[in-house]
């Protein structure tokens, strides 16, 4: 079920209302059933894959906590998770490359990737790793464990939660609070604004530009910048809706974005962008490899491996791997600046340069192929500044103007508020005006075409 669908408009209030009407002891069951309905709305049969994943990691947790062969059970659990990901997500990519290199004719599966598999498999893995590390007790109640993996707000696109944070909240559900409801609804409204008004509008232009080879440097630059804001508004919008929906039920999810385009350098960007994934890679890949407190060669290796895997996590394709490696190169090049501790640029310029670097990398992330990415880059440097419109894309001057206005509105609002906008709880009239305007803008300028969220494909 998509957040931006009529079904969710009905699903959400019913589930939230029932959540507080059901006795606290049975709330896990209510949420688990609701999560099954939510996930089953995509492809019902894929619930079995999710149940399989839950069974594997639930059992692994118990075996690991049993004390014998801890490492073996952890490895088996991780292999099972990666095998599942490998079969559905990476098999065809690797086989296609082997076929191309060797001339072999190995079979491609062409399976549809279960929606959000990368998210819930990583969340599930973090449980077994934390149990192995002794930082989390094994969960004996299979229902609660299933709910940890399947909790519907963050099931298909995160934030990727840690067991220490989510389990206590699931075990001890909070009582109803108007403040939580208001905070949650406000965040959801803001998330819907970002998705429906900003992301899907920018997507009309960016999709058209990336799909069409015939456009000028100006249109390519606009398309790349629009995609930078589109992917931010799309993914952070999803996270806001997820965090808001959970907040309505008194559950606090991890902050996933913290105004990343205001970062002054690439390291800061990764502390603010998709925080739950970047901390996952930091804690379970980068630091176990040795982190930064190692010899230079090893540090380079650690960064490259971490970002190679991060790229691969996003998608089975050379474009995603290139995107990841490009960020690794950015970080490696940035390190000497930190060591010198020189403050050479004004803040505004640092932010602009960082944003440009990130936007350049998004070309690879968005392009359907390396060839398409290359065409886009060539177009940027073609020197053809003739026209900004894209053939066959209905995007007039006014659409362009209001798109830019909405980008600034989004950035300005986020610049003057905290990540969860909690301070608005204490400014009642500002809050009322803010919510009124956001709802009205969604009604008149939202793109209601059930466009999927970009990160669902991962």
């Amino acid at each position: 079920m998509l957040f931006n669908s009529i079904e969710f408009l009905v699903f959400f209030p019913i589930v939230t209302l029932l959540y507080f009407l059901v006795p606290k002891k049975l709330r896990w069951l209510h949420l688990l059933l609701a999560s099954c309905i939510f996930y089953g709305a995509f492809i019902p049969s894929y619930l079995f894959i999710l149940f399989g994943l839950i069974c594997i990691d639930y059992s692994a947790g118990l075996f690991i906590s049993g004390g014998k062969n801890k490492k073996l059970w952890l490895i088996l659990s991780i292999i099972a998770n990666l095998l599942l990901l490998g079969l559905f997500k990476y098999h065809d990519f690797f086989v296609a490359n082997i076929n191309r290199l060797t001339g072999a004719n190995l079979i491609l599966f062409h399976w549809i990737l279960p929606i959000g598999l990368s998210f819930h498999s990583f969340q599930s893995m973090s449980y077994t790793i934390e149990v192995y590390r002794g930082k989390q007790q094994a969960i004996t109640h299979p229902g609660y464990f299933a709910l940890y993996v399947m909790f519907y707000p963050q099931l298909v696109a995160g934030p990727i939660e840690r067991p220490q944070r989510l389990f206590p909240q699931l075990f001890n559900p909070k009582s109803f609070s108007v403040e939580n409801l208001l905070t949650g609804l406000r965040l959801m409204a803001w998330g819907f604004f970002k998705k429906l008004v900003v992301a899907d509008r920018l997507g009309i232009y960016a999709d058209g530009a990336f799909a069409s080879p015939e456009h000028s440097a100006i249109s390519s630059i606009i398309a790349i910048l629009f995609f930078s804001f589109q992917i931010y508004a799309d993914f952070s919008g999803y996270s806001d809706i997820a965090i808001g929906a959970a907040k309505c039920m008194g559950v606090d999810l991890t902050l996933n974005f913290n105004r990343p385009y205001f970062s002054k350098n690439i390291r800061e960007f990764w502390q603010r962008w998709h925080i739950s994934l970047s901390t996952w890679f930091r804690d379970y890949v980068y630091i176990p490899l040795g982190g930064s407190k190692v010899k230079k060669g090893r540090y380079l290796f650690n960064v490259l491996v971490t970002f190679f895997l991060s790229g691969l996590w996003h998608g089975a394709g050379w474009t995603f791997i290139t995107w990841g490696l490009l960020h690794a190169v950015y970080l490696i090049l940035y390190r000497p600046f930190v060591q010198n501790k020189r403050k050479t640029l004004p803040a505004f310029l640092s932010i602009l340069i960082c944003f440009m670097m990130v936007s350049f990398a998004w070309i690879f992330f968005r392009a359907a192929s390396m060839q398409q990415a290359w065409i886009m880059i060539q177009s940027v440097f073609s020197g053809d500044f003739s026209w900004w419109q894209i053939p066959d894309v209905s995007f007039g001057k006014f659409s362009l103007a209001i798109s830019v206005c909405f980008i600034f509105l989004m950035l300005f609002t986020e610049a003057i508020t905290s990540a969860l906008m909690k301070e608005l709880n204490h400014k009642k009239w500002v809050d009322v005006i803010f919510l009124t305007l956001i709802i009205t803008l969604i009604i008149f300028f939202g793109i209601f075409r059930n466009n999927s969220f970009i990160y669902f494909q991962f």
Partner: protein, 315 residues
């Protein structure tokens, strides 16, 4: 924390939306008045009597001027065609006309294979959302996938249904169409003033090369014929002019489409006027392969009026 903090913004947003909705309605109607609203108002809200009803797609909308046609035929005609119409829209227009007007003498349907492809024009004729109080309109729009009930109850929701182009079109200032030589008259519109003008190019060569006949359009075509015949209206098929070197459609698709119209005309004994090979329509009368400029439309309308007069004389 009080409940009003949650409820009040929704109420205020609704009130604000109603006000903005009215303002948007006025602007949208002004923007699309000549192209769409005048003729749909004529179709549904007015009840005038016409002798001839002109139906079809852009080749009629921009191609047959009732002013010149009437001057030759002696009849009174109205051009109810919409650019991009498919057979469903033409059927809907026919039903709406018969529901709201006295029975005409003739219904002229312009033949174009493009009307038989899966066009789904009702999905994008958003101005019809302003007329949902009409049951026939509401039923067809619902079948086209529009959320008619919510839009009927909360009219400003129609802007949430529209595509980006239509929604932002209401902010384009001023009257977009120049007036000259009766170029805007009873549903007809053509702004390509000069012979050989390319200012109103509507059609990209080769764009519809992969078109196929949409099979459900065949029973709809038969229903269209029945709707008029049952009321005793004389139906006429018109094969409109096109460039002699036209390369516009997949020829397989074109021939198949024409064959279907020919077959219906033969079995239902519908008289036809053929202009598709008329050499008087030289290239200077076209803005693209199939659309006439205003001088071309004037000549076509006069010739069509003449054909209609001849038909009356022969009867």
């Amino acid at each position: 924390m009080k409940w009003w903090r949650i409820i009040l913004p929704f109420i205020l947003a609704m009130v604000l939306s109603i006000v903005i909705g009215h303002w948007f309605d006025a602007r949208y109607k002004k923007r699309w008045d000549i192209l769409f609203f005048q003729k749909t108002d004529e179709l549904i809200k007015k009840h005038d009597s016409y002798d001839v009803v002109l139906l079809g797609n852009s080749r009629v909308h921009f191609g047959i001027n009732p002013y010149y046609m009437d001057s030759v035929s002696g009849y009174s005609a109205y051009n109810f065609a919409n650019g991009g119409s498919d057979i469903t829209d033409i059927l809907l227009t026919s039903k709406l006309y018969l529901n709201h007007h006295p029975i005409p003498k003739y219904a002229i349907i312009s033949v174009d294979p493009g009307m038989l492809k899966k066009n789904e024009s009702l999905k994008t004729l958003y101005h019809y959302l302003f007329y949902l109080r009409d049951d026939t309109m509401s039923r067809y729009m619902q079948l086209a996938g529009h959320p008619t009930l919510p839009v009927k109850v909360i009219p400003f929701l129609k802007y949430a249904v529209m595509d980006e182009y239509n929604r932002t079109s209401l902010f384009i200032p001023g009257q977009p169409y120049p007036h000259f030589d009766h170029n805007i008259y009873r549903g007809f519109l053509n702004i390509s003033k000069d012979t050989g003008s390319q200012t109103q190019r509507l059609y990209n060569t080769g764009r519809y090369m992969d078109d196929q006949i949409w099979q459900p359009s065949l029973p709809l075509l038969n229903e269209l014929v029945s709707v008029w015949k049952e009321k005793g209206v004389k139906l006429i098929f018109v094969y409109p002019p096109q460039k002699q070197q036209a390369t516009f459609l997949s020829w397989k698709f074109y021939r198949e489409g024409i064959r279907i119209f020919d077959s219906v005309a033969n079995t239902q004994h519908i008289p036809s006027f053929h202009f598709e090979r008329d050499a008087s329509f030289y290239n200077g009368y076209f803005v693209d392969d199939i659309h006439l400029n205003n001088p071309g439309a004037t000549m076509y309308s006069i010739m069509l009026g003449d054909s209609l007069r001849s038909l009356r004389s022969s009867n």
